[in-house]
Symmetry: C2
Subunit: 526 residues, 2 copies
């Protein structure tokens, strides 16, 4: 430590400082390198100070004045530029991992000992307890030696007021860095931190709390800020989402007070809604006693640093249990969900396939089609015919797919204003959307992130809805289509399991109907 | 699983069943072997069923119907006799530890790879990321392979409603078994479970709650049941401990609702109390605004299965912070504590030394004193003289120590009814008590468990008080002497550290005065 260093931050309680930092670094980007040379020097010095406080936080004896050092480190970290945060995290990943000399020494000792009683340990109870005790001790030491030194920092921050929040921000920064460059040591640190966070954020440590209009404004403000699916436009909108016929539940952790880690918005309805408009705006709420359906229409995580830790699964299960207990007349649990990856997948498919189609036109009469095995007409003949017929005034193209691509690409979404185009596009878009949801996979899991989320939680694909979200975001992401996933309490575990182990996507016959004819046509048209 | 096994327990929500079991197994002893042959057969069958549900709970895929299996296991476990619990825990420790064949295989792979960039990893950033990524992967696999399989059961129970409580009971049983027999594998399991519990019960996961007369009777009942230091005699006593001039704070974990893991009772006073009578009974409470001292007069852990996990340290620190914030006129934080090990130490010292004294009498004139190097007259000459003078009617003995031993041993504590004996014993007992607290150690730590607890938390020994606890327990444990430890917020961390690393026991000059003359006399009398 440098006691007289003028750039050294004063010791002070974490909470206020950190909260300020947090609101500045929302979206976890510290300002990137906009300072002049002088400020750069200050930043650089400050980097060394933060590095030292990190070192102290890790190497101090556990009974020492940890709180001050941890505050010091946290505040220092937040004051760093993104570039310096990156440097610090790399230092942590590389210089505070393992003492590998010690690991090898313990491995040598370990290998020098005989296994106790074989794997099944069918001992007659007359083993030498002294020897066994040595064996277990060395095994434990080896286990401990394989723990990276940075675990100490994680553990200490976790038990420090405000520290869990600091850890989620560290991890958000790590994920930003890893998205830009692949650094093995940092990836190893990230996977370690993620494991730790998963443990600490076990459902046992989380509290379910219904968020109402009576909650503090500081909490409601967070709901408005974090709502990721359907932005909350004003106070009336917020009040409605917390009022009659609506519920909002959050998962809270005692170490991150005043904001949920994840929250879900629920509408109590007579039937599963087909459009988001009717949920958010159109319909006045019904009598709650007449509701038969709880519709989950929005679920938002608030901490980017908790990416990959599935808190939603337990939240949904607990909310279902709670609603069933309090309102036994509600028997249907469904979502009205976006399909965030549909258009991206479709447009890239249309672009690549219409290029291949062009190539096919050229080599059409040639006998050599081996270069074209990836070619597939995404459209059915009838769909292509209607598109070509109705697109005249709007878009050109050498084939149906190119026309569709040119219709759907502009961000003005002009196609939605023409009833002719709407009815020409609808059959193709609905069929392709069903195909996207049920058949397009990556490593055996649904390609769409929201689909993957609900399917791994044990839901099934129930229905897809045309023009269900006419917002700019809805049109851009999924041509306005939304999907209802349904959770049946009695099949949640079974579906989750068969999806997890076999990649099986459960769906209603209504949705399957869209894709079954395709399979037949495919074989007849190719 | 044996679906048709008639002894199979029905699946049902855990909470009620477990709560019943809990109140039956308070003190964590299941009935030991009192059943007849027939019942034994049932128990035995039930053991196999519980063993199978334990196996399922560990080996199931994580998306399967875990909740039912974990309930099944927990209920099954509670239904077992202590003997069968022991058998099951040994099975868990021996057959669900490590796959050591896999460990050795991974060690082989690991040793086949070069260390990345040495220990200091001063790499120029041009390392082969592909190789490093393989290295970190194998290291992680090795780390994971060294985790015992039973960790899965612990982790799953921890995230299961009611499961943390089940784990504390498992551990209480394990500690009972280990107290009777030393089984290395079970000791290894215990140390692993203890590490896990420490992590899960980090202060970040605990909530401080002030317990008041407005709390549910079911919670207050637990306070009465668990109060370990000064038993609560009736409702009026309880109400007084929660009323004006008193505070009671508990540490709660969300997974163990309705009962604190540890709680502390505080009296707001004008001065540090010298006797427990004035705290519990004699004095009417003062105006809280006139208080200058917060006296911690009782601290009780409620879970035997959390032995060795220091929750008290954080509780005390948080309570001090809270009281300082709410009542800035309170500046003294002290305890009035029992000295549970004093009499046991003193009586055994008196017994052994008076025997050695006898031996010395015999070999008194002999030149060979080498066999007597451990001999020490525990009493000072003046103390011995007064004891011999005043003990005539009460006890005999060949020397002062034997007389003292004979006076103090009877459980009737007759010596407390004679003012002559009281004044003869007081100087010796007070001096020896100060010596016991300040100088008697085991592995560098205070021999007395309560002293060790407060010293490791950063307190100092402030004052010892004559006839401070005249209850049977107080007389038996410490001849009625109690001690005030003082916590000075500004020195807590420093004292905790010097005690931890150097075994330094901080004390006031008042207490040191008792032992300093002894050191001078010792050199002059020997």
């Amino acid at each position: 430590m440098r006691p007289n260093d003028p750039s050294k931050l004063a010791l002070s309680p974490l909470s206020n400082e950190v909260n300020q930092m947090l609101s500045n670094s929302q979206g976890n980007q510290a300002p990137r390198n906009t300072e002049d040379g002088n400020e750069k020097l200050n930043k650089q010095r400050s980097f060394e100070v933060v590095r030292e406080s990190m070192h102290s936080a890790i190497s101090m004896n556990k009974t020492e004045v940890l709180d001050a050092v941890l505050n010091d480190f946290s505040e220092g970290y937040f004051s760093l530029s993104f570039e310096n945060r990156r440097k610090l995290l790399l230092t942590l990943a590389k210089e505070y991992d393992l003492n590998r000399t010690q690991v090898r020494e313990l491995i040598k000792q370990y290998l020098g000992l005989q296994l106790p009683g074989g794997n099944e340990a069918q001992s007659g109870g007359v083993e030498d307890e002294g020897f066994l005790s040595t064996f277990y001790r060395i095994e434990r030491n080896l286990r401990h030696s394989l723990k990276p030194v940075y675990e100490v920092l994680f553990e200490r921050l976790n038990t420090h007021p405000g520290g869990l929040k600091v850890l989620t921000i560290l991890r958000a920064d790590i994920l930003s860095i890893l998205a830009a460059e692949n650094i093995s040591s940092l990836r190893a640190l990230d996977s370690y931190l993620k494991e730790k966070l998963s443990t600490w954020l076990s459902p046992a440590a989380l509290e379910l709390h219904q968020i109402t209009w009576d909650d503090p404004a500081s909490l409601l403000e967070k709901i408005v800020a974090y709502e990721a699916v359907h932005p909350i436009s004003n106070l009336i909108d917020l009040k409605r989402r917390l009022g009659v016929g609506r519920r909002c539940f959050g998962y809270f952790h005692s170490a991150i007070p005043g904001e949920p880690l994840i929250f879900i918005e629920v509408a109590l309805l007579k039937a599963v809604a087909q459009t988001i408009q009717e949920v958010l705006w159109d319909h006045p709420p019904i009598l709650e006693s007449e509701a038969t359906c709880a519709l989950f229409y929005s679920i938002s995580s608030t901490q980017p640093g908790l990416a990959g830790i599935n808190l939603g699964k337990f939240l949904i299960k607990r909310v279902i249990t709670l609603v069933r207990r309090d309102m036994p007349h509600i028997s249907v649990f469904a979502t009205l969900s976006p399909i965030p990856g549909f258009m991206q997948w479709l447009l890239s498919k249309l672009a690549s396939q219409s290029k291949l189609a062009e190539a096919e036109d050229i080599s059409c009469s040639s006998a050599d089609r081996s270069g074209l095995t990836f070619y597939e007409n995404v459209l059915e003949p009838e769909e292509e015919r209607r598109l070509i017929e109705s697109s005249g005034d709007f878009a050109a193209g050498k084939n149906g797919m190119e026309i569709m691509l040119n219709l759907l690409t502009p961000t003005s979404h002009d196609w939605t204003n023409s009833s002719k185009l709407l009815s020409a596009l609808k059959p193709a878009l609905m069929r392709l959307c069903a195909r996207y949801l049920l058949q397009e996979k990556k490593r055996g899991k649904a390609l769409d992130s929201v689909a993957n989320f609900h399917l791994q939680n044990g839901a099934m694909v129930q229905r897809i809805n045309w023009m269900a979200d006419r917002s700019e975001k809805g049109l851009r992401q999924s041509a306005g289509i939304m999907v209802n996933y349904v959770y049946r309490p009695e099949t949640i575990e079974e579906y989750a399991h068969s999806y997890f182990s076999l990649g099986h996507i459960h769906s209603s016959s209504d949705v399957r109907r869209y894709v079954q004819p395709l399979t037949e046509n495919e074989s007849s048209t190719n």
